[in-house]
């Protein structure tokens, strides 16, 4: 079984309100995107709030186009673009957060999207990735951020998936994820 199938199989039966850490190698990145933005939303009829800090939202959109993934149901909270440099304006599907150090602003934008989006559809919140947020923030503040955000999402019955890239992670990060997530999924290279 390839990485796409493994990730899909491990996520597809999860109950509402689940908080999952995906620990994967960077080679599995496209598989993760495929599952999170297409396979799971299709399977469970979900809208996705995609918090990106690794790449700018437009680069992820390019990847999705390459993979031939539709994106009407994907909303970005973009902490990966330098707003001032690119002079982009937020639109219905991309909301910019000026700096990845403003973790409260990420929570505020998620809250905003949760209220704006179709109430009848389920939600999936995806953090890509916790390691790139860790470049700008201490582990203690990141843990606090995850704790508050995840509990809030859990109470709303949303699914939360946080990506941790193995090459960029640490034992401390792995422990912190164990604390705030219900389950960790170790994405194997060959299954």
């Amino acid at each position: 079984m390839g990485a796409t199938e493994q990730i899909f199989e491990s996520l597809k039966e999860l109950p509402e309100g689940s908080v999952i850490a995906l620990e994967a190698n960077s080679e599995a990145y496209f598989d993760v995107i495929r599952v999170i933005t297409e396979k799971i939303p299709k399977h469970k009829n979900l809208d996705v709030i995609y918090i990106n800090s690794t790449l700018p939202a437009n680069s992820i959109i390019n990847v999705m186009e390459l993979l031939d993934i539709k994106r009407d149901n994907i909303y970005f909270v973009d902490c990966g673009s330098s707003v001032l440099l690119t002079q982009q304006a937020s639109n219905g599907h991309i909301i910019f957060v000026e700096s990845a150090t403003m973790l409260e602003n990420i929570m505020l934008k998620v809250e905003y999207l949760m209220r704006k989006m179709d109430k009848k559809k389920g939600k999936l919140i995806f953090i890509d990735s916790i390691n790139s947020l860790a470049i700008h923030n201490s582990l203690s503040i990141l843990s606090e951020f995850m704790h508050i955000l995840f509990n809030n999402m859990r109470s709303k019955g949303a699914y939360t998936v946080v990506l941790s890239i193995k090459e960029q992670s640490s034992d401390e990060m792995s422990k912190a994820l164990t604390m705030v997530c219900d389950e960790k999924i170790d994405v194997k290279e060959e299954w």
């Binding site: 000026e98 700096s99 150090t101 403003m102 973790l103 409260e104 602003n105 929570m107 505020l108 934008k109 809250e111 905003y112 209220r115 704006k116 201490s138 203690s140 503040i141 843990s143 606090e144 951020f145 508050i148």
Partner: protein
Amino acid sequence: MPEEKQEKVFSLPKKGQRNRCKTGIDTLDAILNGGIPRGNTVLITGSCGTGKTTTSLEFLVHGALYGENCLFLSVTEASEKLLANLIPYEFFDDSLLKRGKLMFIDMPAIYERLGLQKSEFSFEEIDLLVDALGDIVKELKIKRLVIDSVTSVCFQLKTEEKIRDFILKLGKKLSDLGCTSLLVSEILPSDARYSTYGVEEAIADGIILMGNYERRGDLLRTLQVVKMRGTTHSRAKYVLDLTPIGVLLVPMLKGGGE
């Protein structure tokens, strides 16, 4: 009539549980354990651009949507300008204005009607003003009132005694009428206290402090309930966002302090 029912509840409060005035800002109501205790006079205080006017307006719009009569007394800004700020709100409904649920009055017009033209009001004139405001609230059956800003009114009172006299009498009158009020107070970022004259904060039933918080070069808007008589509440600092769907609040991360 629902209004009469409300009066009854107000005069017969359950033990330890006063009737609440829901602000309609979900997280703020959660912070306040259900809302502002009815009849409270609350100072909403902060330096310029922190969101005092926006938050107060939203408090009134939600009140009007709940069916309560709401009044915005504007001292410095023209009502048309304030109205223009309301239009982008998705929850705003302009029939609230047509049906008289949401009203705007410019304070200078009241001064003029009362013949208050001096730069400093006397104690008698303060009584005159308080009575006039009480009459308006009574006649229009106002349940929520905002004065933006009380600091500008205080400019014309000058002395601490007069400010104390004004706020005490106004607070008493509004509370007797079952009207929940937000008094906007402007302070300098450097101010150690919550109001320009220091008296307002001691008399008010509640203080909501709004501020700007700088952290590693980012500027965040914050909100904190410093005091609120008649309820337990969180005193933690929250980060605020002004959006087309209204004020949103999330807890400020503690690891982020300093």
